[in-house]
Amino acid sequence: MIESFFVHLIPILIGTLGAATPLVFAGLGELVTEKTGVINLGVEGMMLIGAVAAFAAAVATEGNLAVGLMAGALAGALASLPFGILTLSLGANQAASGLALTIFGLGLSAFIGQGFVSYSLSGVKPIAIPLLSKIPLLGPVLFNQDIVVYLSFVTFGLVAWVLAKTRLGLVLRAVGESPEAAHSIGYPVTAIRYGAVLFGGAMAGIAGAYLSVVYTPLWVQNMTAGRGWIAVALVVFATWKPARLMLGAYLFGGVTILQLHAQGFGVAIPSQLLSALPYIATIVVLVLISRDRKLLQLNLPASLGKPFIAGG
């Protein structure tokens, strides 16, 4: 009995990490962007542009993963640039500009993707880390994954460390809290925000690249299916804390895989409801753990969504 439980559990957990990885990348990117006070609702669009660019590059190089990821990152960053110009240099409304970016990304990726619908890639083989992958339960789940999943661990560590421990992180947080004060003591607020927006774009692009090159190695129109929106929501409900963001992402990934298995077993619940389950579960859990208003206020970038134009 117990053995058969593990037989089912391990594939679910392995799948969880894969399903969560796009959210980890997109979420961490958006978290950094929002920490500087800019909310970019274009994550979904940037992911799609990243996905189609990565897929095209991978097809052209016969499945080269590194080229695919780089193309995705570059395309995502390029896609975020007009958003940056509109909101940071011209002071346009961030919410409206972000929505426009998502709609633009949806259309552009569908247009470019037309020619790639019939292609498929071979996917990426997992790499077992010697010794570590032999640990019961944890080994196959954490240490027998594809390289992009490992990369997501490293990215999480880097982002958390930079934000908490380095001067760069302190400056990012300071700009998000009070761009006026940061400007008055001499920080180039707009340039710093551009950097954060481009980073967020690149990360969203990598998230999309993972989807189209590794997770389901083919191109389907609108293949992100709302994951960009979940990433935005995760950032907010995780109260801008990287560790909680990871928790939320894995929760989402876990419930996604779980409900797929449940559908496979033929549970008597409409499949549409089951498909909605990960979205509902993630939001509910994160809302519940983030009820403390004091904590929320301490982590919320106070200038979030407000344009800042340096002047006299």
Binding site: R167, A174, S178, Q297
Partner: protein
């Protein structure tokens, strides 16, 4: 040290290139800065010697802050020269200013609320990033200059005085040669001001030059070696403040004598206009201060003042009094009627007038005309509505009368609220409330950012209003103002209100102690 006359300063500045002795640390020559529609600085010159405490004196809008921003590099001048230690220098940005050895303590602090003291200071330093080592330095420097600070506290939990210490320590850690302080005492208790002055004198004795921006004459007389007076963007005089009277300094600053308020006796009935009974309320803001067992009576015919530094429950008390936050019905009484559960509109219906601290945004809608702004509260008046529809002609008429009666300088009732200066908009808002014949009126920071002339007018207006039989409650950070207009003064500190004392029985000193949170018996 001996104060120097301005002529000898100018001479020194002229010889500086060729001779070695003391040359000015900073010398500004013919600085000009224009903004669309205004000349903020017009041919401004001044110089500061090493170890000199130099005052820049002027009203709001005289151009002091613009001049300091030019020195600190946040604003670039259109014309003129800046000489630093005898050499012509262009200060491109604040980082360049800091590299030269210029430190600035801002009027509205440039601190980050959710970061610690050390993190805030680290942001302004170019030293290698090591928060632990920096915390040790912060502690030792803050103790050396009598500015005790806990390096690991989050800034939002600090009092205003402590926040200012953070700003000063931040400057001191950069070993400044020139320290600029912009209205540093506007938020301090008299005791904290004395402490600050000791620190500044200690710095000056170590050779640091200090530029002290203020409009408070007695402070400048007390602290500064020399003064440059500005009015309307121009220098109107140089003086040695120790040899001037506050009267002569005031004439240089505003061009005429300081106006004085008249408080006639009140002869009408003393019924209670506004009462607060055992009010306790939890703040909605997680960083706010909760009110604890507050009781207060404001009678018809008197002005009661609440002193204290903002952030001690002022915002919370105002919200409860105006009706933005409702409480137990018997906790607030207007004209002996319990109104604690009524909202702001219902309380206004019963004769409560309220002038908030934030003029643009809460007192008035910035983009709307004065007539429409008048309508927002005056629609309750007879003739303003016909069967629920607004009578625009009547509101325009109302606004016109208000503009005339309260001497509001503007382009008529159709001008947008945001086009008015602070003083004129405040006159309009106060006037709008007075013309609705309230029973009680609450005013927060009535003259904040208002020039001397309009301040005097507003203060006299509030006294006259009370003498017509209205209970007036003023919440202000300016002690001088409270002593000028109030009959009784209470202090709000850490959410608790001291008993309101007749002003003849108290003084700035004991009010200051209460503001700092000490119980009254400790004072005696």
């Amino acid at each position: 040290m001996t104060p120097m006359t301005n002529d000898s300063l100018a001479e020194l500045a002229g010889k500086a290139a060729s001779q070695t002795p003391v040359e000015p640390r900073l010398s500004l020559q013919h600085i000009t800065k224009r903004y669309p529609g205004v000349v903020a600085n017009d041919d401004v010159s001044l110089s500061v010697m090493p170890g000199e405490i130099h005052a820049v004196l002027g009203e709001n809008g005289a151009g002091k802050s613009t001049l300091m921003k030019i020195i600190y590099g946040t604003v670039q001048a259109d014309g003129g020269q800046l000489m630093w230690n005898g050499r012509e220098t262009v200060v491109a940005n604040p980082a360049a200013a800091r590299a030269l050895g210029i430190g600035m303590v801002f009027q509205h602090f440039s601190l980050f609320e959710t970061l610690t003291v050390t993190e805030n200071i680290a942001l302004a330093l170019d030293a290698p990033f090591d928060l632990k080592a920096l915390a040790v330095r912060v502690k030792s420097v803050s103790e050396k200059y009598g500015l005790p600070l806990d390096p690991y506290r989050l800034v939002h939990s600090l009092s205003v005085g402590e926040r200012q210490r953070v700003e000063i320590v931040r400057c001191l850690l950069q070993d400044p040669q020139l320290l600029i302080l912009d209205e540093p005492t506007s938020v301090l208790t008299p005791q904290a001001v004395r402490k600050l002055f000791e620190t500044l004198r200690q710095l000056a004795s170590e050779g640091v030059s200090i530029l002290y921006i203020s409009h408070k004459l007695h402070e400048i007389k007390d602290l500064c070696d020399s003064a440059t007076v500005m009015r309307g963007g121009r220098v109107t005089g140089h003086a040695n403040p120790k040899q001037e009277t506050t009267g002569s300094l005031a004439r240089m600053m505003i061009g005429r004598d300081l106006p004085v308020c008249q408080s006639p006796d009140y002869t009408g009935n003393n019924n209670c206009a506004l009462e607060v009974r055992n009010l306790s309320a939890t703040s909605i803001d997680p960083f706010g201060v909760s009110l604890q067992d507050i009781s207060l009576r404001v009678q018809r015919g008197e002005v009661v003042g609440i002193a204290g530094i903002s952030g001690n429950g002022q915002a919370e008390l105002l919200a409860v009094l105006s009706g933005e936050q409702t409480v137990g019905n018997d906790a607030v009484l207007l004209d002996d009627v319990p109104v604690g559960k009524l909202d702001a509109g219902q309380r206004r219906d019963l004769g409560l007038a309220f002038v908030p601290e934030e003029r643009l945004g809460r007192g008035a809608v910035p983009a709307m005309s004065l007539a429409n702004n008048a309508m927002l509260t005056a629609h309750r008046q007879a003739g303003m509505k016909h069967y629920g529809l607004l009578n625009y002609a009547a509101t325009r008429e109302f606004a016109k009368r208000c503009i005339e009666r309260f001497d509001v300088r503007c382009n008529g009732a159709q001008s947008a609220a945001r086009s008015l200066s602070g003083g004129n908009l405040q006159k309009f808002i106060v006037g709008r409330e007075i013309m609705q014949s309230p029973k009680a009126m609450i005013v927060a920071q009535p003259t904040w950012g208002v020039d001397v002339g309009a301040s005097a007018f507003l203060r006299q207006t509030l006294i006259d209003l009370s003498r017509s039989g209205v209970g007036v409650l003023v919440i202000s950070e300016e002690l001088d103002e409270l002593f000028e207009i109030c009959d009784r003064i209470a202090v709000l500190s850490e959410g608790k209100l001291s008993p309101a004392m007749p002003k003849e029985q108290t003084n700035a000193e004991s009010i200051g102690l209460l503001m700092a949170g000490k119980a009254e018996k400790e004072v005696a």
